[in-house]
Amino acid sequence: MAKITTLKAAVSELIDNGDSVALEGFTHLIPYAAGHEIIRQKKQDLTIIRMTPDVIYDQLIGMGCVRKMIFSWGGNPGVGSLYRFRDAVEKGWPQPLEIEEHSHADMANAYEAGAANLPFATLRAYIGCDLPKYNRTIKQIECPFTGEKLAAVPAIRPDVTVIHAQQADRKGNVLLWGIVGVQKQAVLAAKKVIVTVEEVVDKLEPHANQTVIPGWVIDAVCEIPGGAFPSYAQGYSTRNNAFYQQWDVIARDRETFSLWMERHVLDTENFAQFKDSIGVRSVA
């Protein structure tokens, strides 16, 4: 049952060192504020899971929080490389990064299977692709009716899923809309769930069949206006594409990155202070 609480308390109580954590979002609604709080609390040895790890995963990796990453596309969307991710994979800095790599179709199906409480997913995938040579979790299965061979992949069941959404009500029911990605599946597949929202409202007003996640499958709801910056929350903000371009410069160099993180993340108390410190007005 959802508790409405601070992000500091939620991350402290619900994420342990060594956990597998999925901060999901498909370009839209990325839980940046939650990622920063994980960095501030110096969580260690995490396995981070996401289809599209981007800048916030680059930060988690560069700050030494991560042991392993499970992913299907790791880049700065529309810009290029994630230099901290590359540095960890190519040079082992600040520590070696184990990777478990999939395709999008695989991970989307694997989360879906997790939400459905199935141990595996079946899909038409990976023919002619080299990934199965390096990722031993990808197997084959035979259809018991047609004899066809299909790919089988294990379900994803994160210890903790973290998402950002537009609204929650005071019981912790959550409403999100726009590009909803794989967030509902990631939430339902997880053991524990943290949701940051743009605002807590007295009453959600979902239109028919919109994506509502009931509070009784969520552990903590935290109100963090603008908590997806530089990603966005449709209806609340737009994507700050300029920041993604700036990140290309910040992350390229180890020292520039470390100083930036220290000044803007470690030396700030919360996401509003972070945004002030980089000169972005917090939009409440």
Binding site: A105, N109, I179, G181
Partner: protein, 258 residues
């Protein structure tokens, strides 16, 4: 027709001409997205554009920087979850054309977006597969767009992320793939198409002013040319105007922070 244009503009325009009205097109971000939207704004107004973020039938006014820009969902006919996108729409067999970019390609149109060098000890770690492997195997046909250079058009890929014709000949069908695979590779120098039998990419068009030698120098294998090598039609005034307007709107939209 005497207007100046860049090789990048020529590439986008040449690619846009290969799309047909009414087709359902699964669009990669970047060059494929530029070409597909140019087509939508010129010759194929009824093309259906799908982005893997779950946006179906999008009509963006500016090019998205990311696969999940708000512009895509706000102008879509429908927005579905990512699992639904990959399961019902792509794997479901509803997509005519998959339109991909790539970091590297080989003579059989296999592409690499994963790693340069050894997978476990990489020289350059690229972003990875994303949707590409299943786009390439679940769409009816594939278009590939990338700039031609000997670093990108290589004799031997470090890693096959998405299959083209695998080892050529019938090897794609023998692996169980029943769709057509890549039908054209559009570059800044011209267009390559697979030989009907060997499936090796053959240069069938050179853009105006591009020589056979230039194409050869920018290809890491011994490039073959079609017997009737053609010259790509020049960009029309309309194509150039629409593309430039689109790029200008896009640059303006993405220039500053909000």
């Amino acid at each position: 027709m005497s207007t100046q244009y860049s090789s990048s503009e020529m590439m986008t325009i040449a690619a846009s001409r290969l799309l047909q009205n009414g087709q359902v097109c699964f669009v990669g971000i970047g060059q494929p997205s530029a070409a597909a939207n140019l087509a939508r704004l010129t010759s194929t107004p009824d093309i259906v554009l799908i982005y893997e973020s779950g946006t179906i039938g999008t009509k963006p006014d500016v090019l998205p920087l990311s696969i999940g820009d708000g512009e895509l969902s706000e102008t879509a006919d429908l927005v579905v979850s990512v699992p639904e996108m990959f399961r019902y729409w792509l794997q479901g067999g509803h997509v005519d054309i998959g339109f991909l970019g790539a970091a590297q390609i080989d003579r059989f149109a296999n592409i690499n977006t994963t790693v340069i060098g050894d997978y476990n000890n990489p020289k350059v770690r690229l972003p990875g597969a994303g949707g590409a492997p299943e786009i390439s195997t679940n769409c009816k046909e594939i278009l590939i767009i990338l700039k031609q250079s000997s670093r990108a058009f290589v004799e031997q890929l470090s890693f096959i992320t998405s299959p083209g014709f695998m080892e050529g000949g019938d090897s794609r069908e023998e692996a169980g793939l029943t769709n057509k695979g890549p039908v054209a590779v559009i570059t800044d120098l011209g267009v390559l198409e697979p030989d009907p039998v060997s499936k090796e990419l053959v240069m069938t068009h050179l853009h105006e002013g591009i020589t056979v030698d230039q194409a050869r120098e920018n290809t890491g294998w011994d490039l073959k040319f079609a017997d009737h090598l053609q010259t790509t039609a020049l960009p029309t005034d309309e194509e150039l105007k629409v593309l430039r307007d689109l790029n200008e709107r896009t640059a303006k939209a993405h220039a500053g922070a909000e």
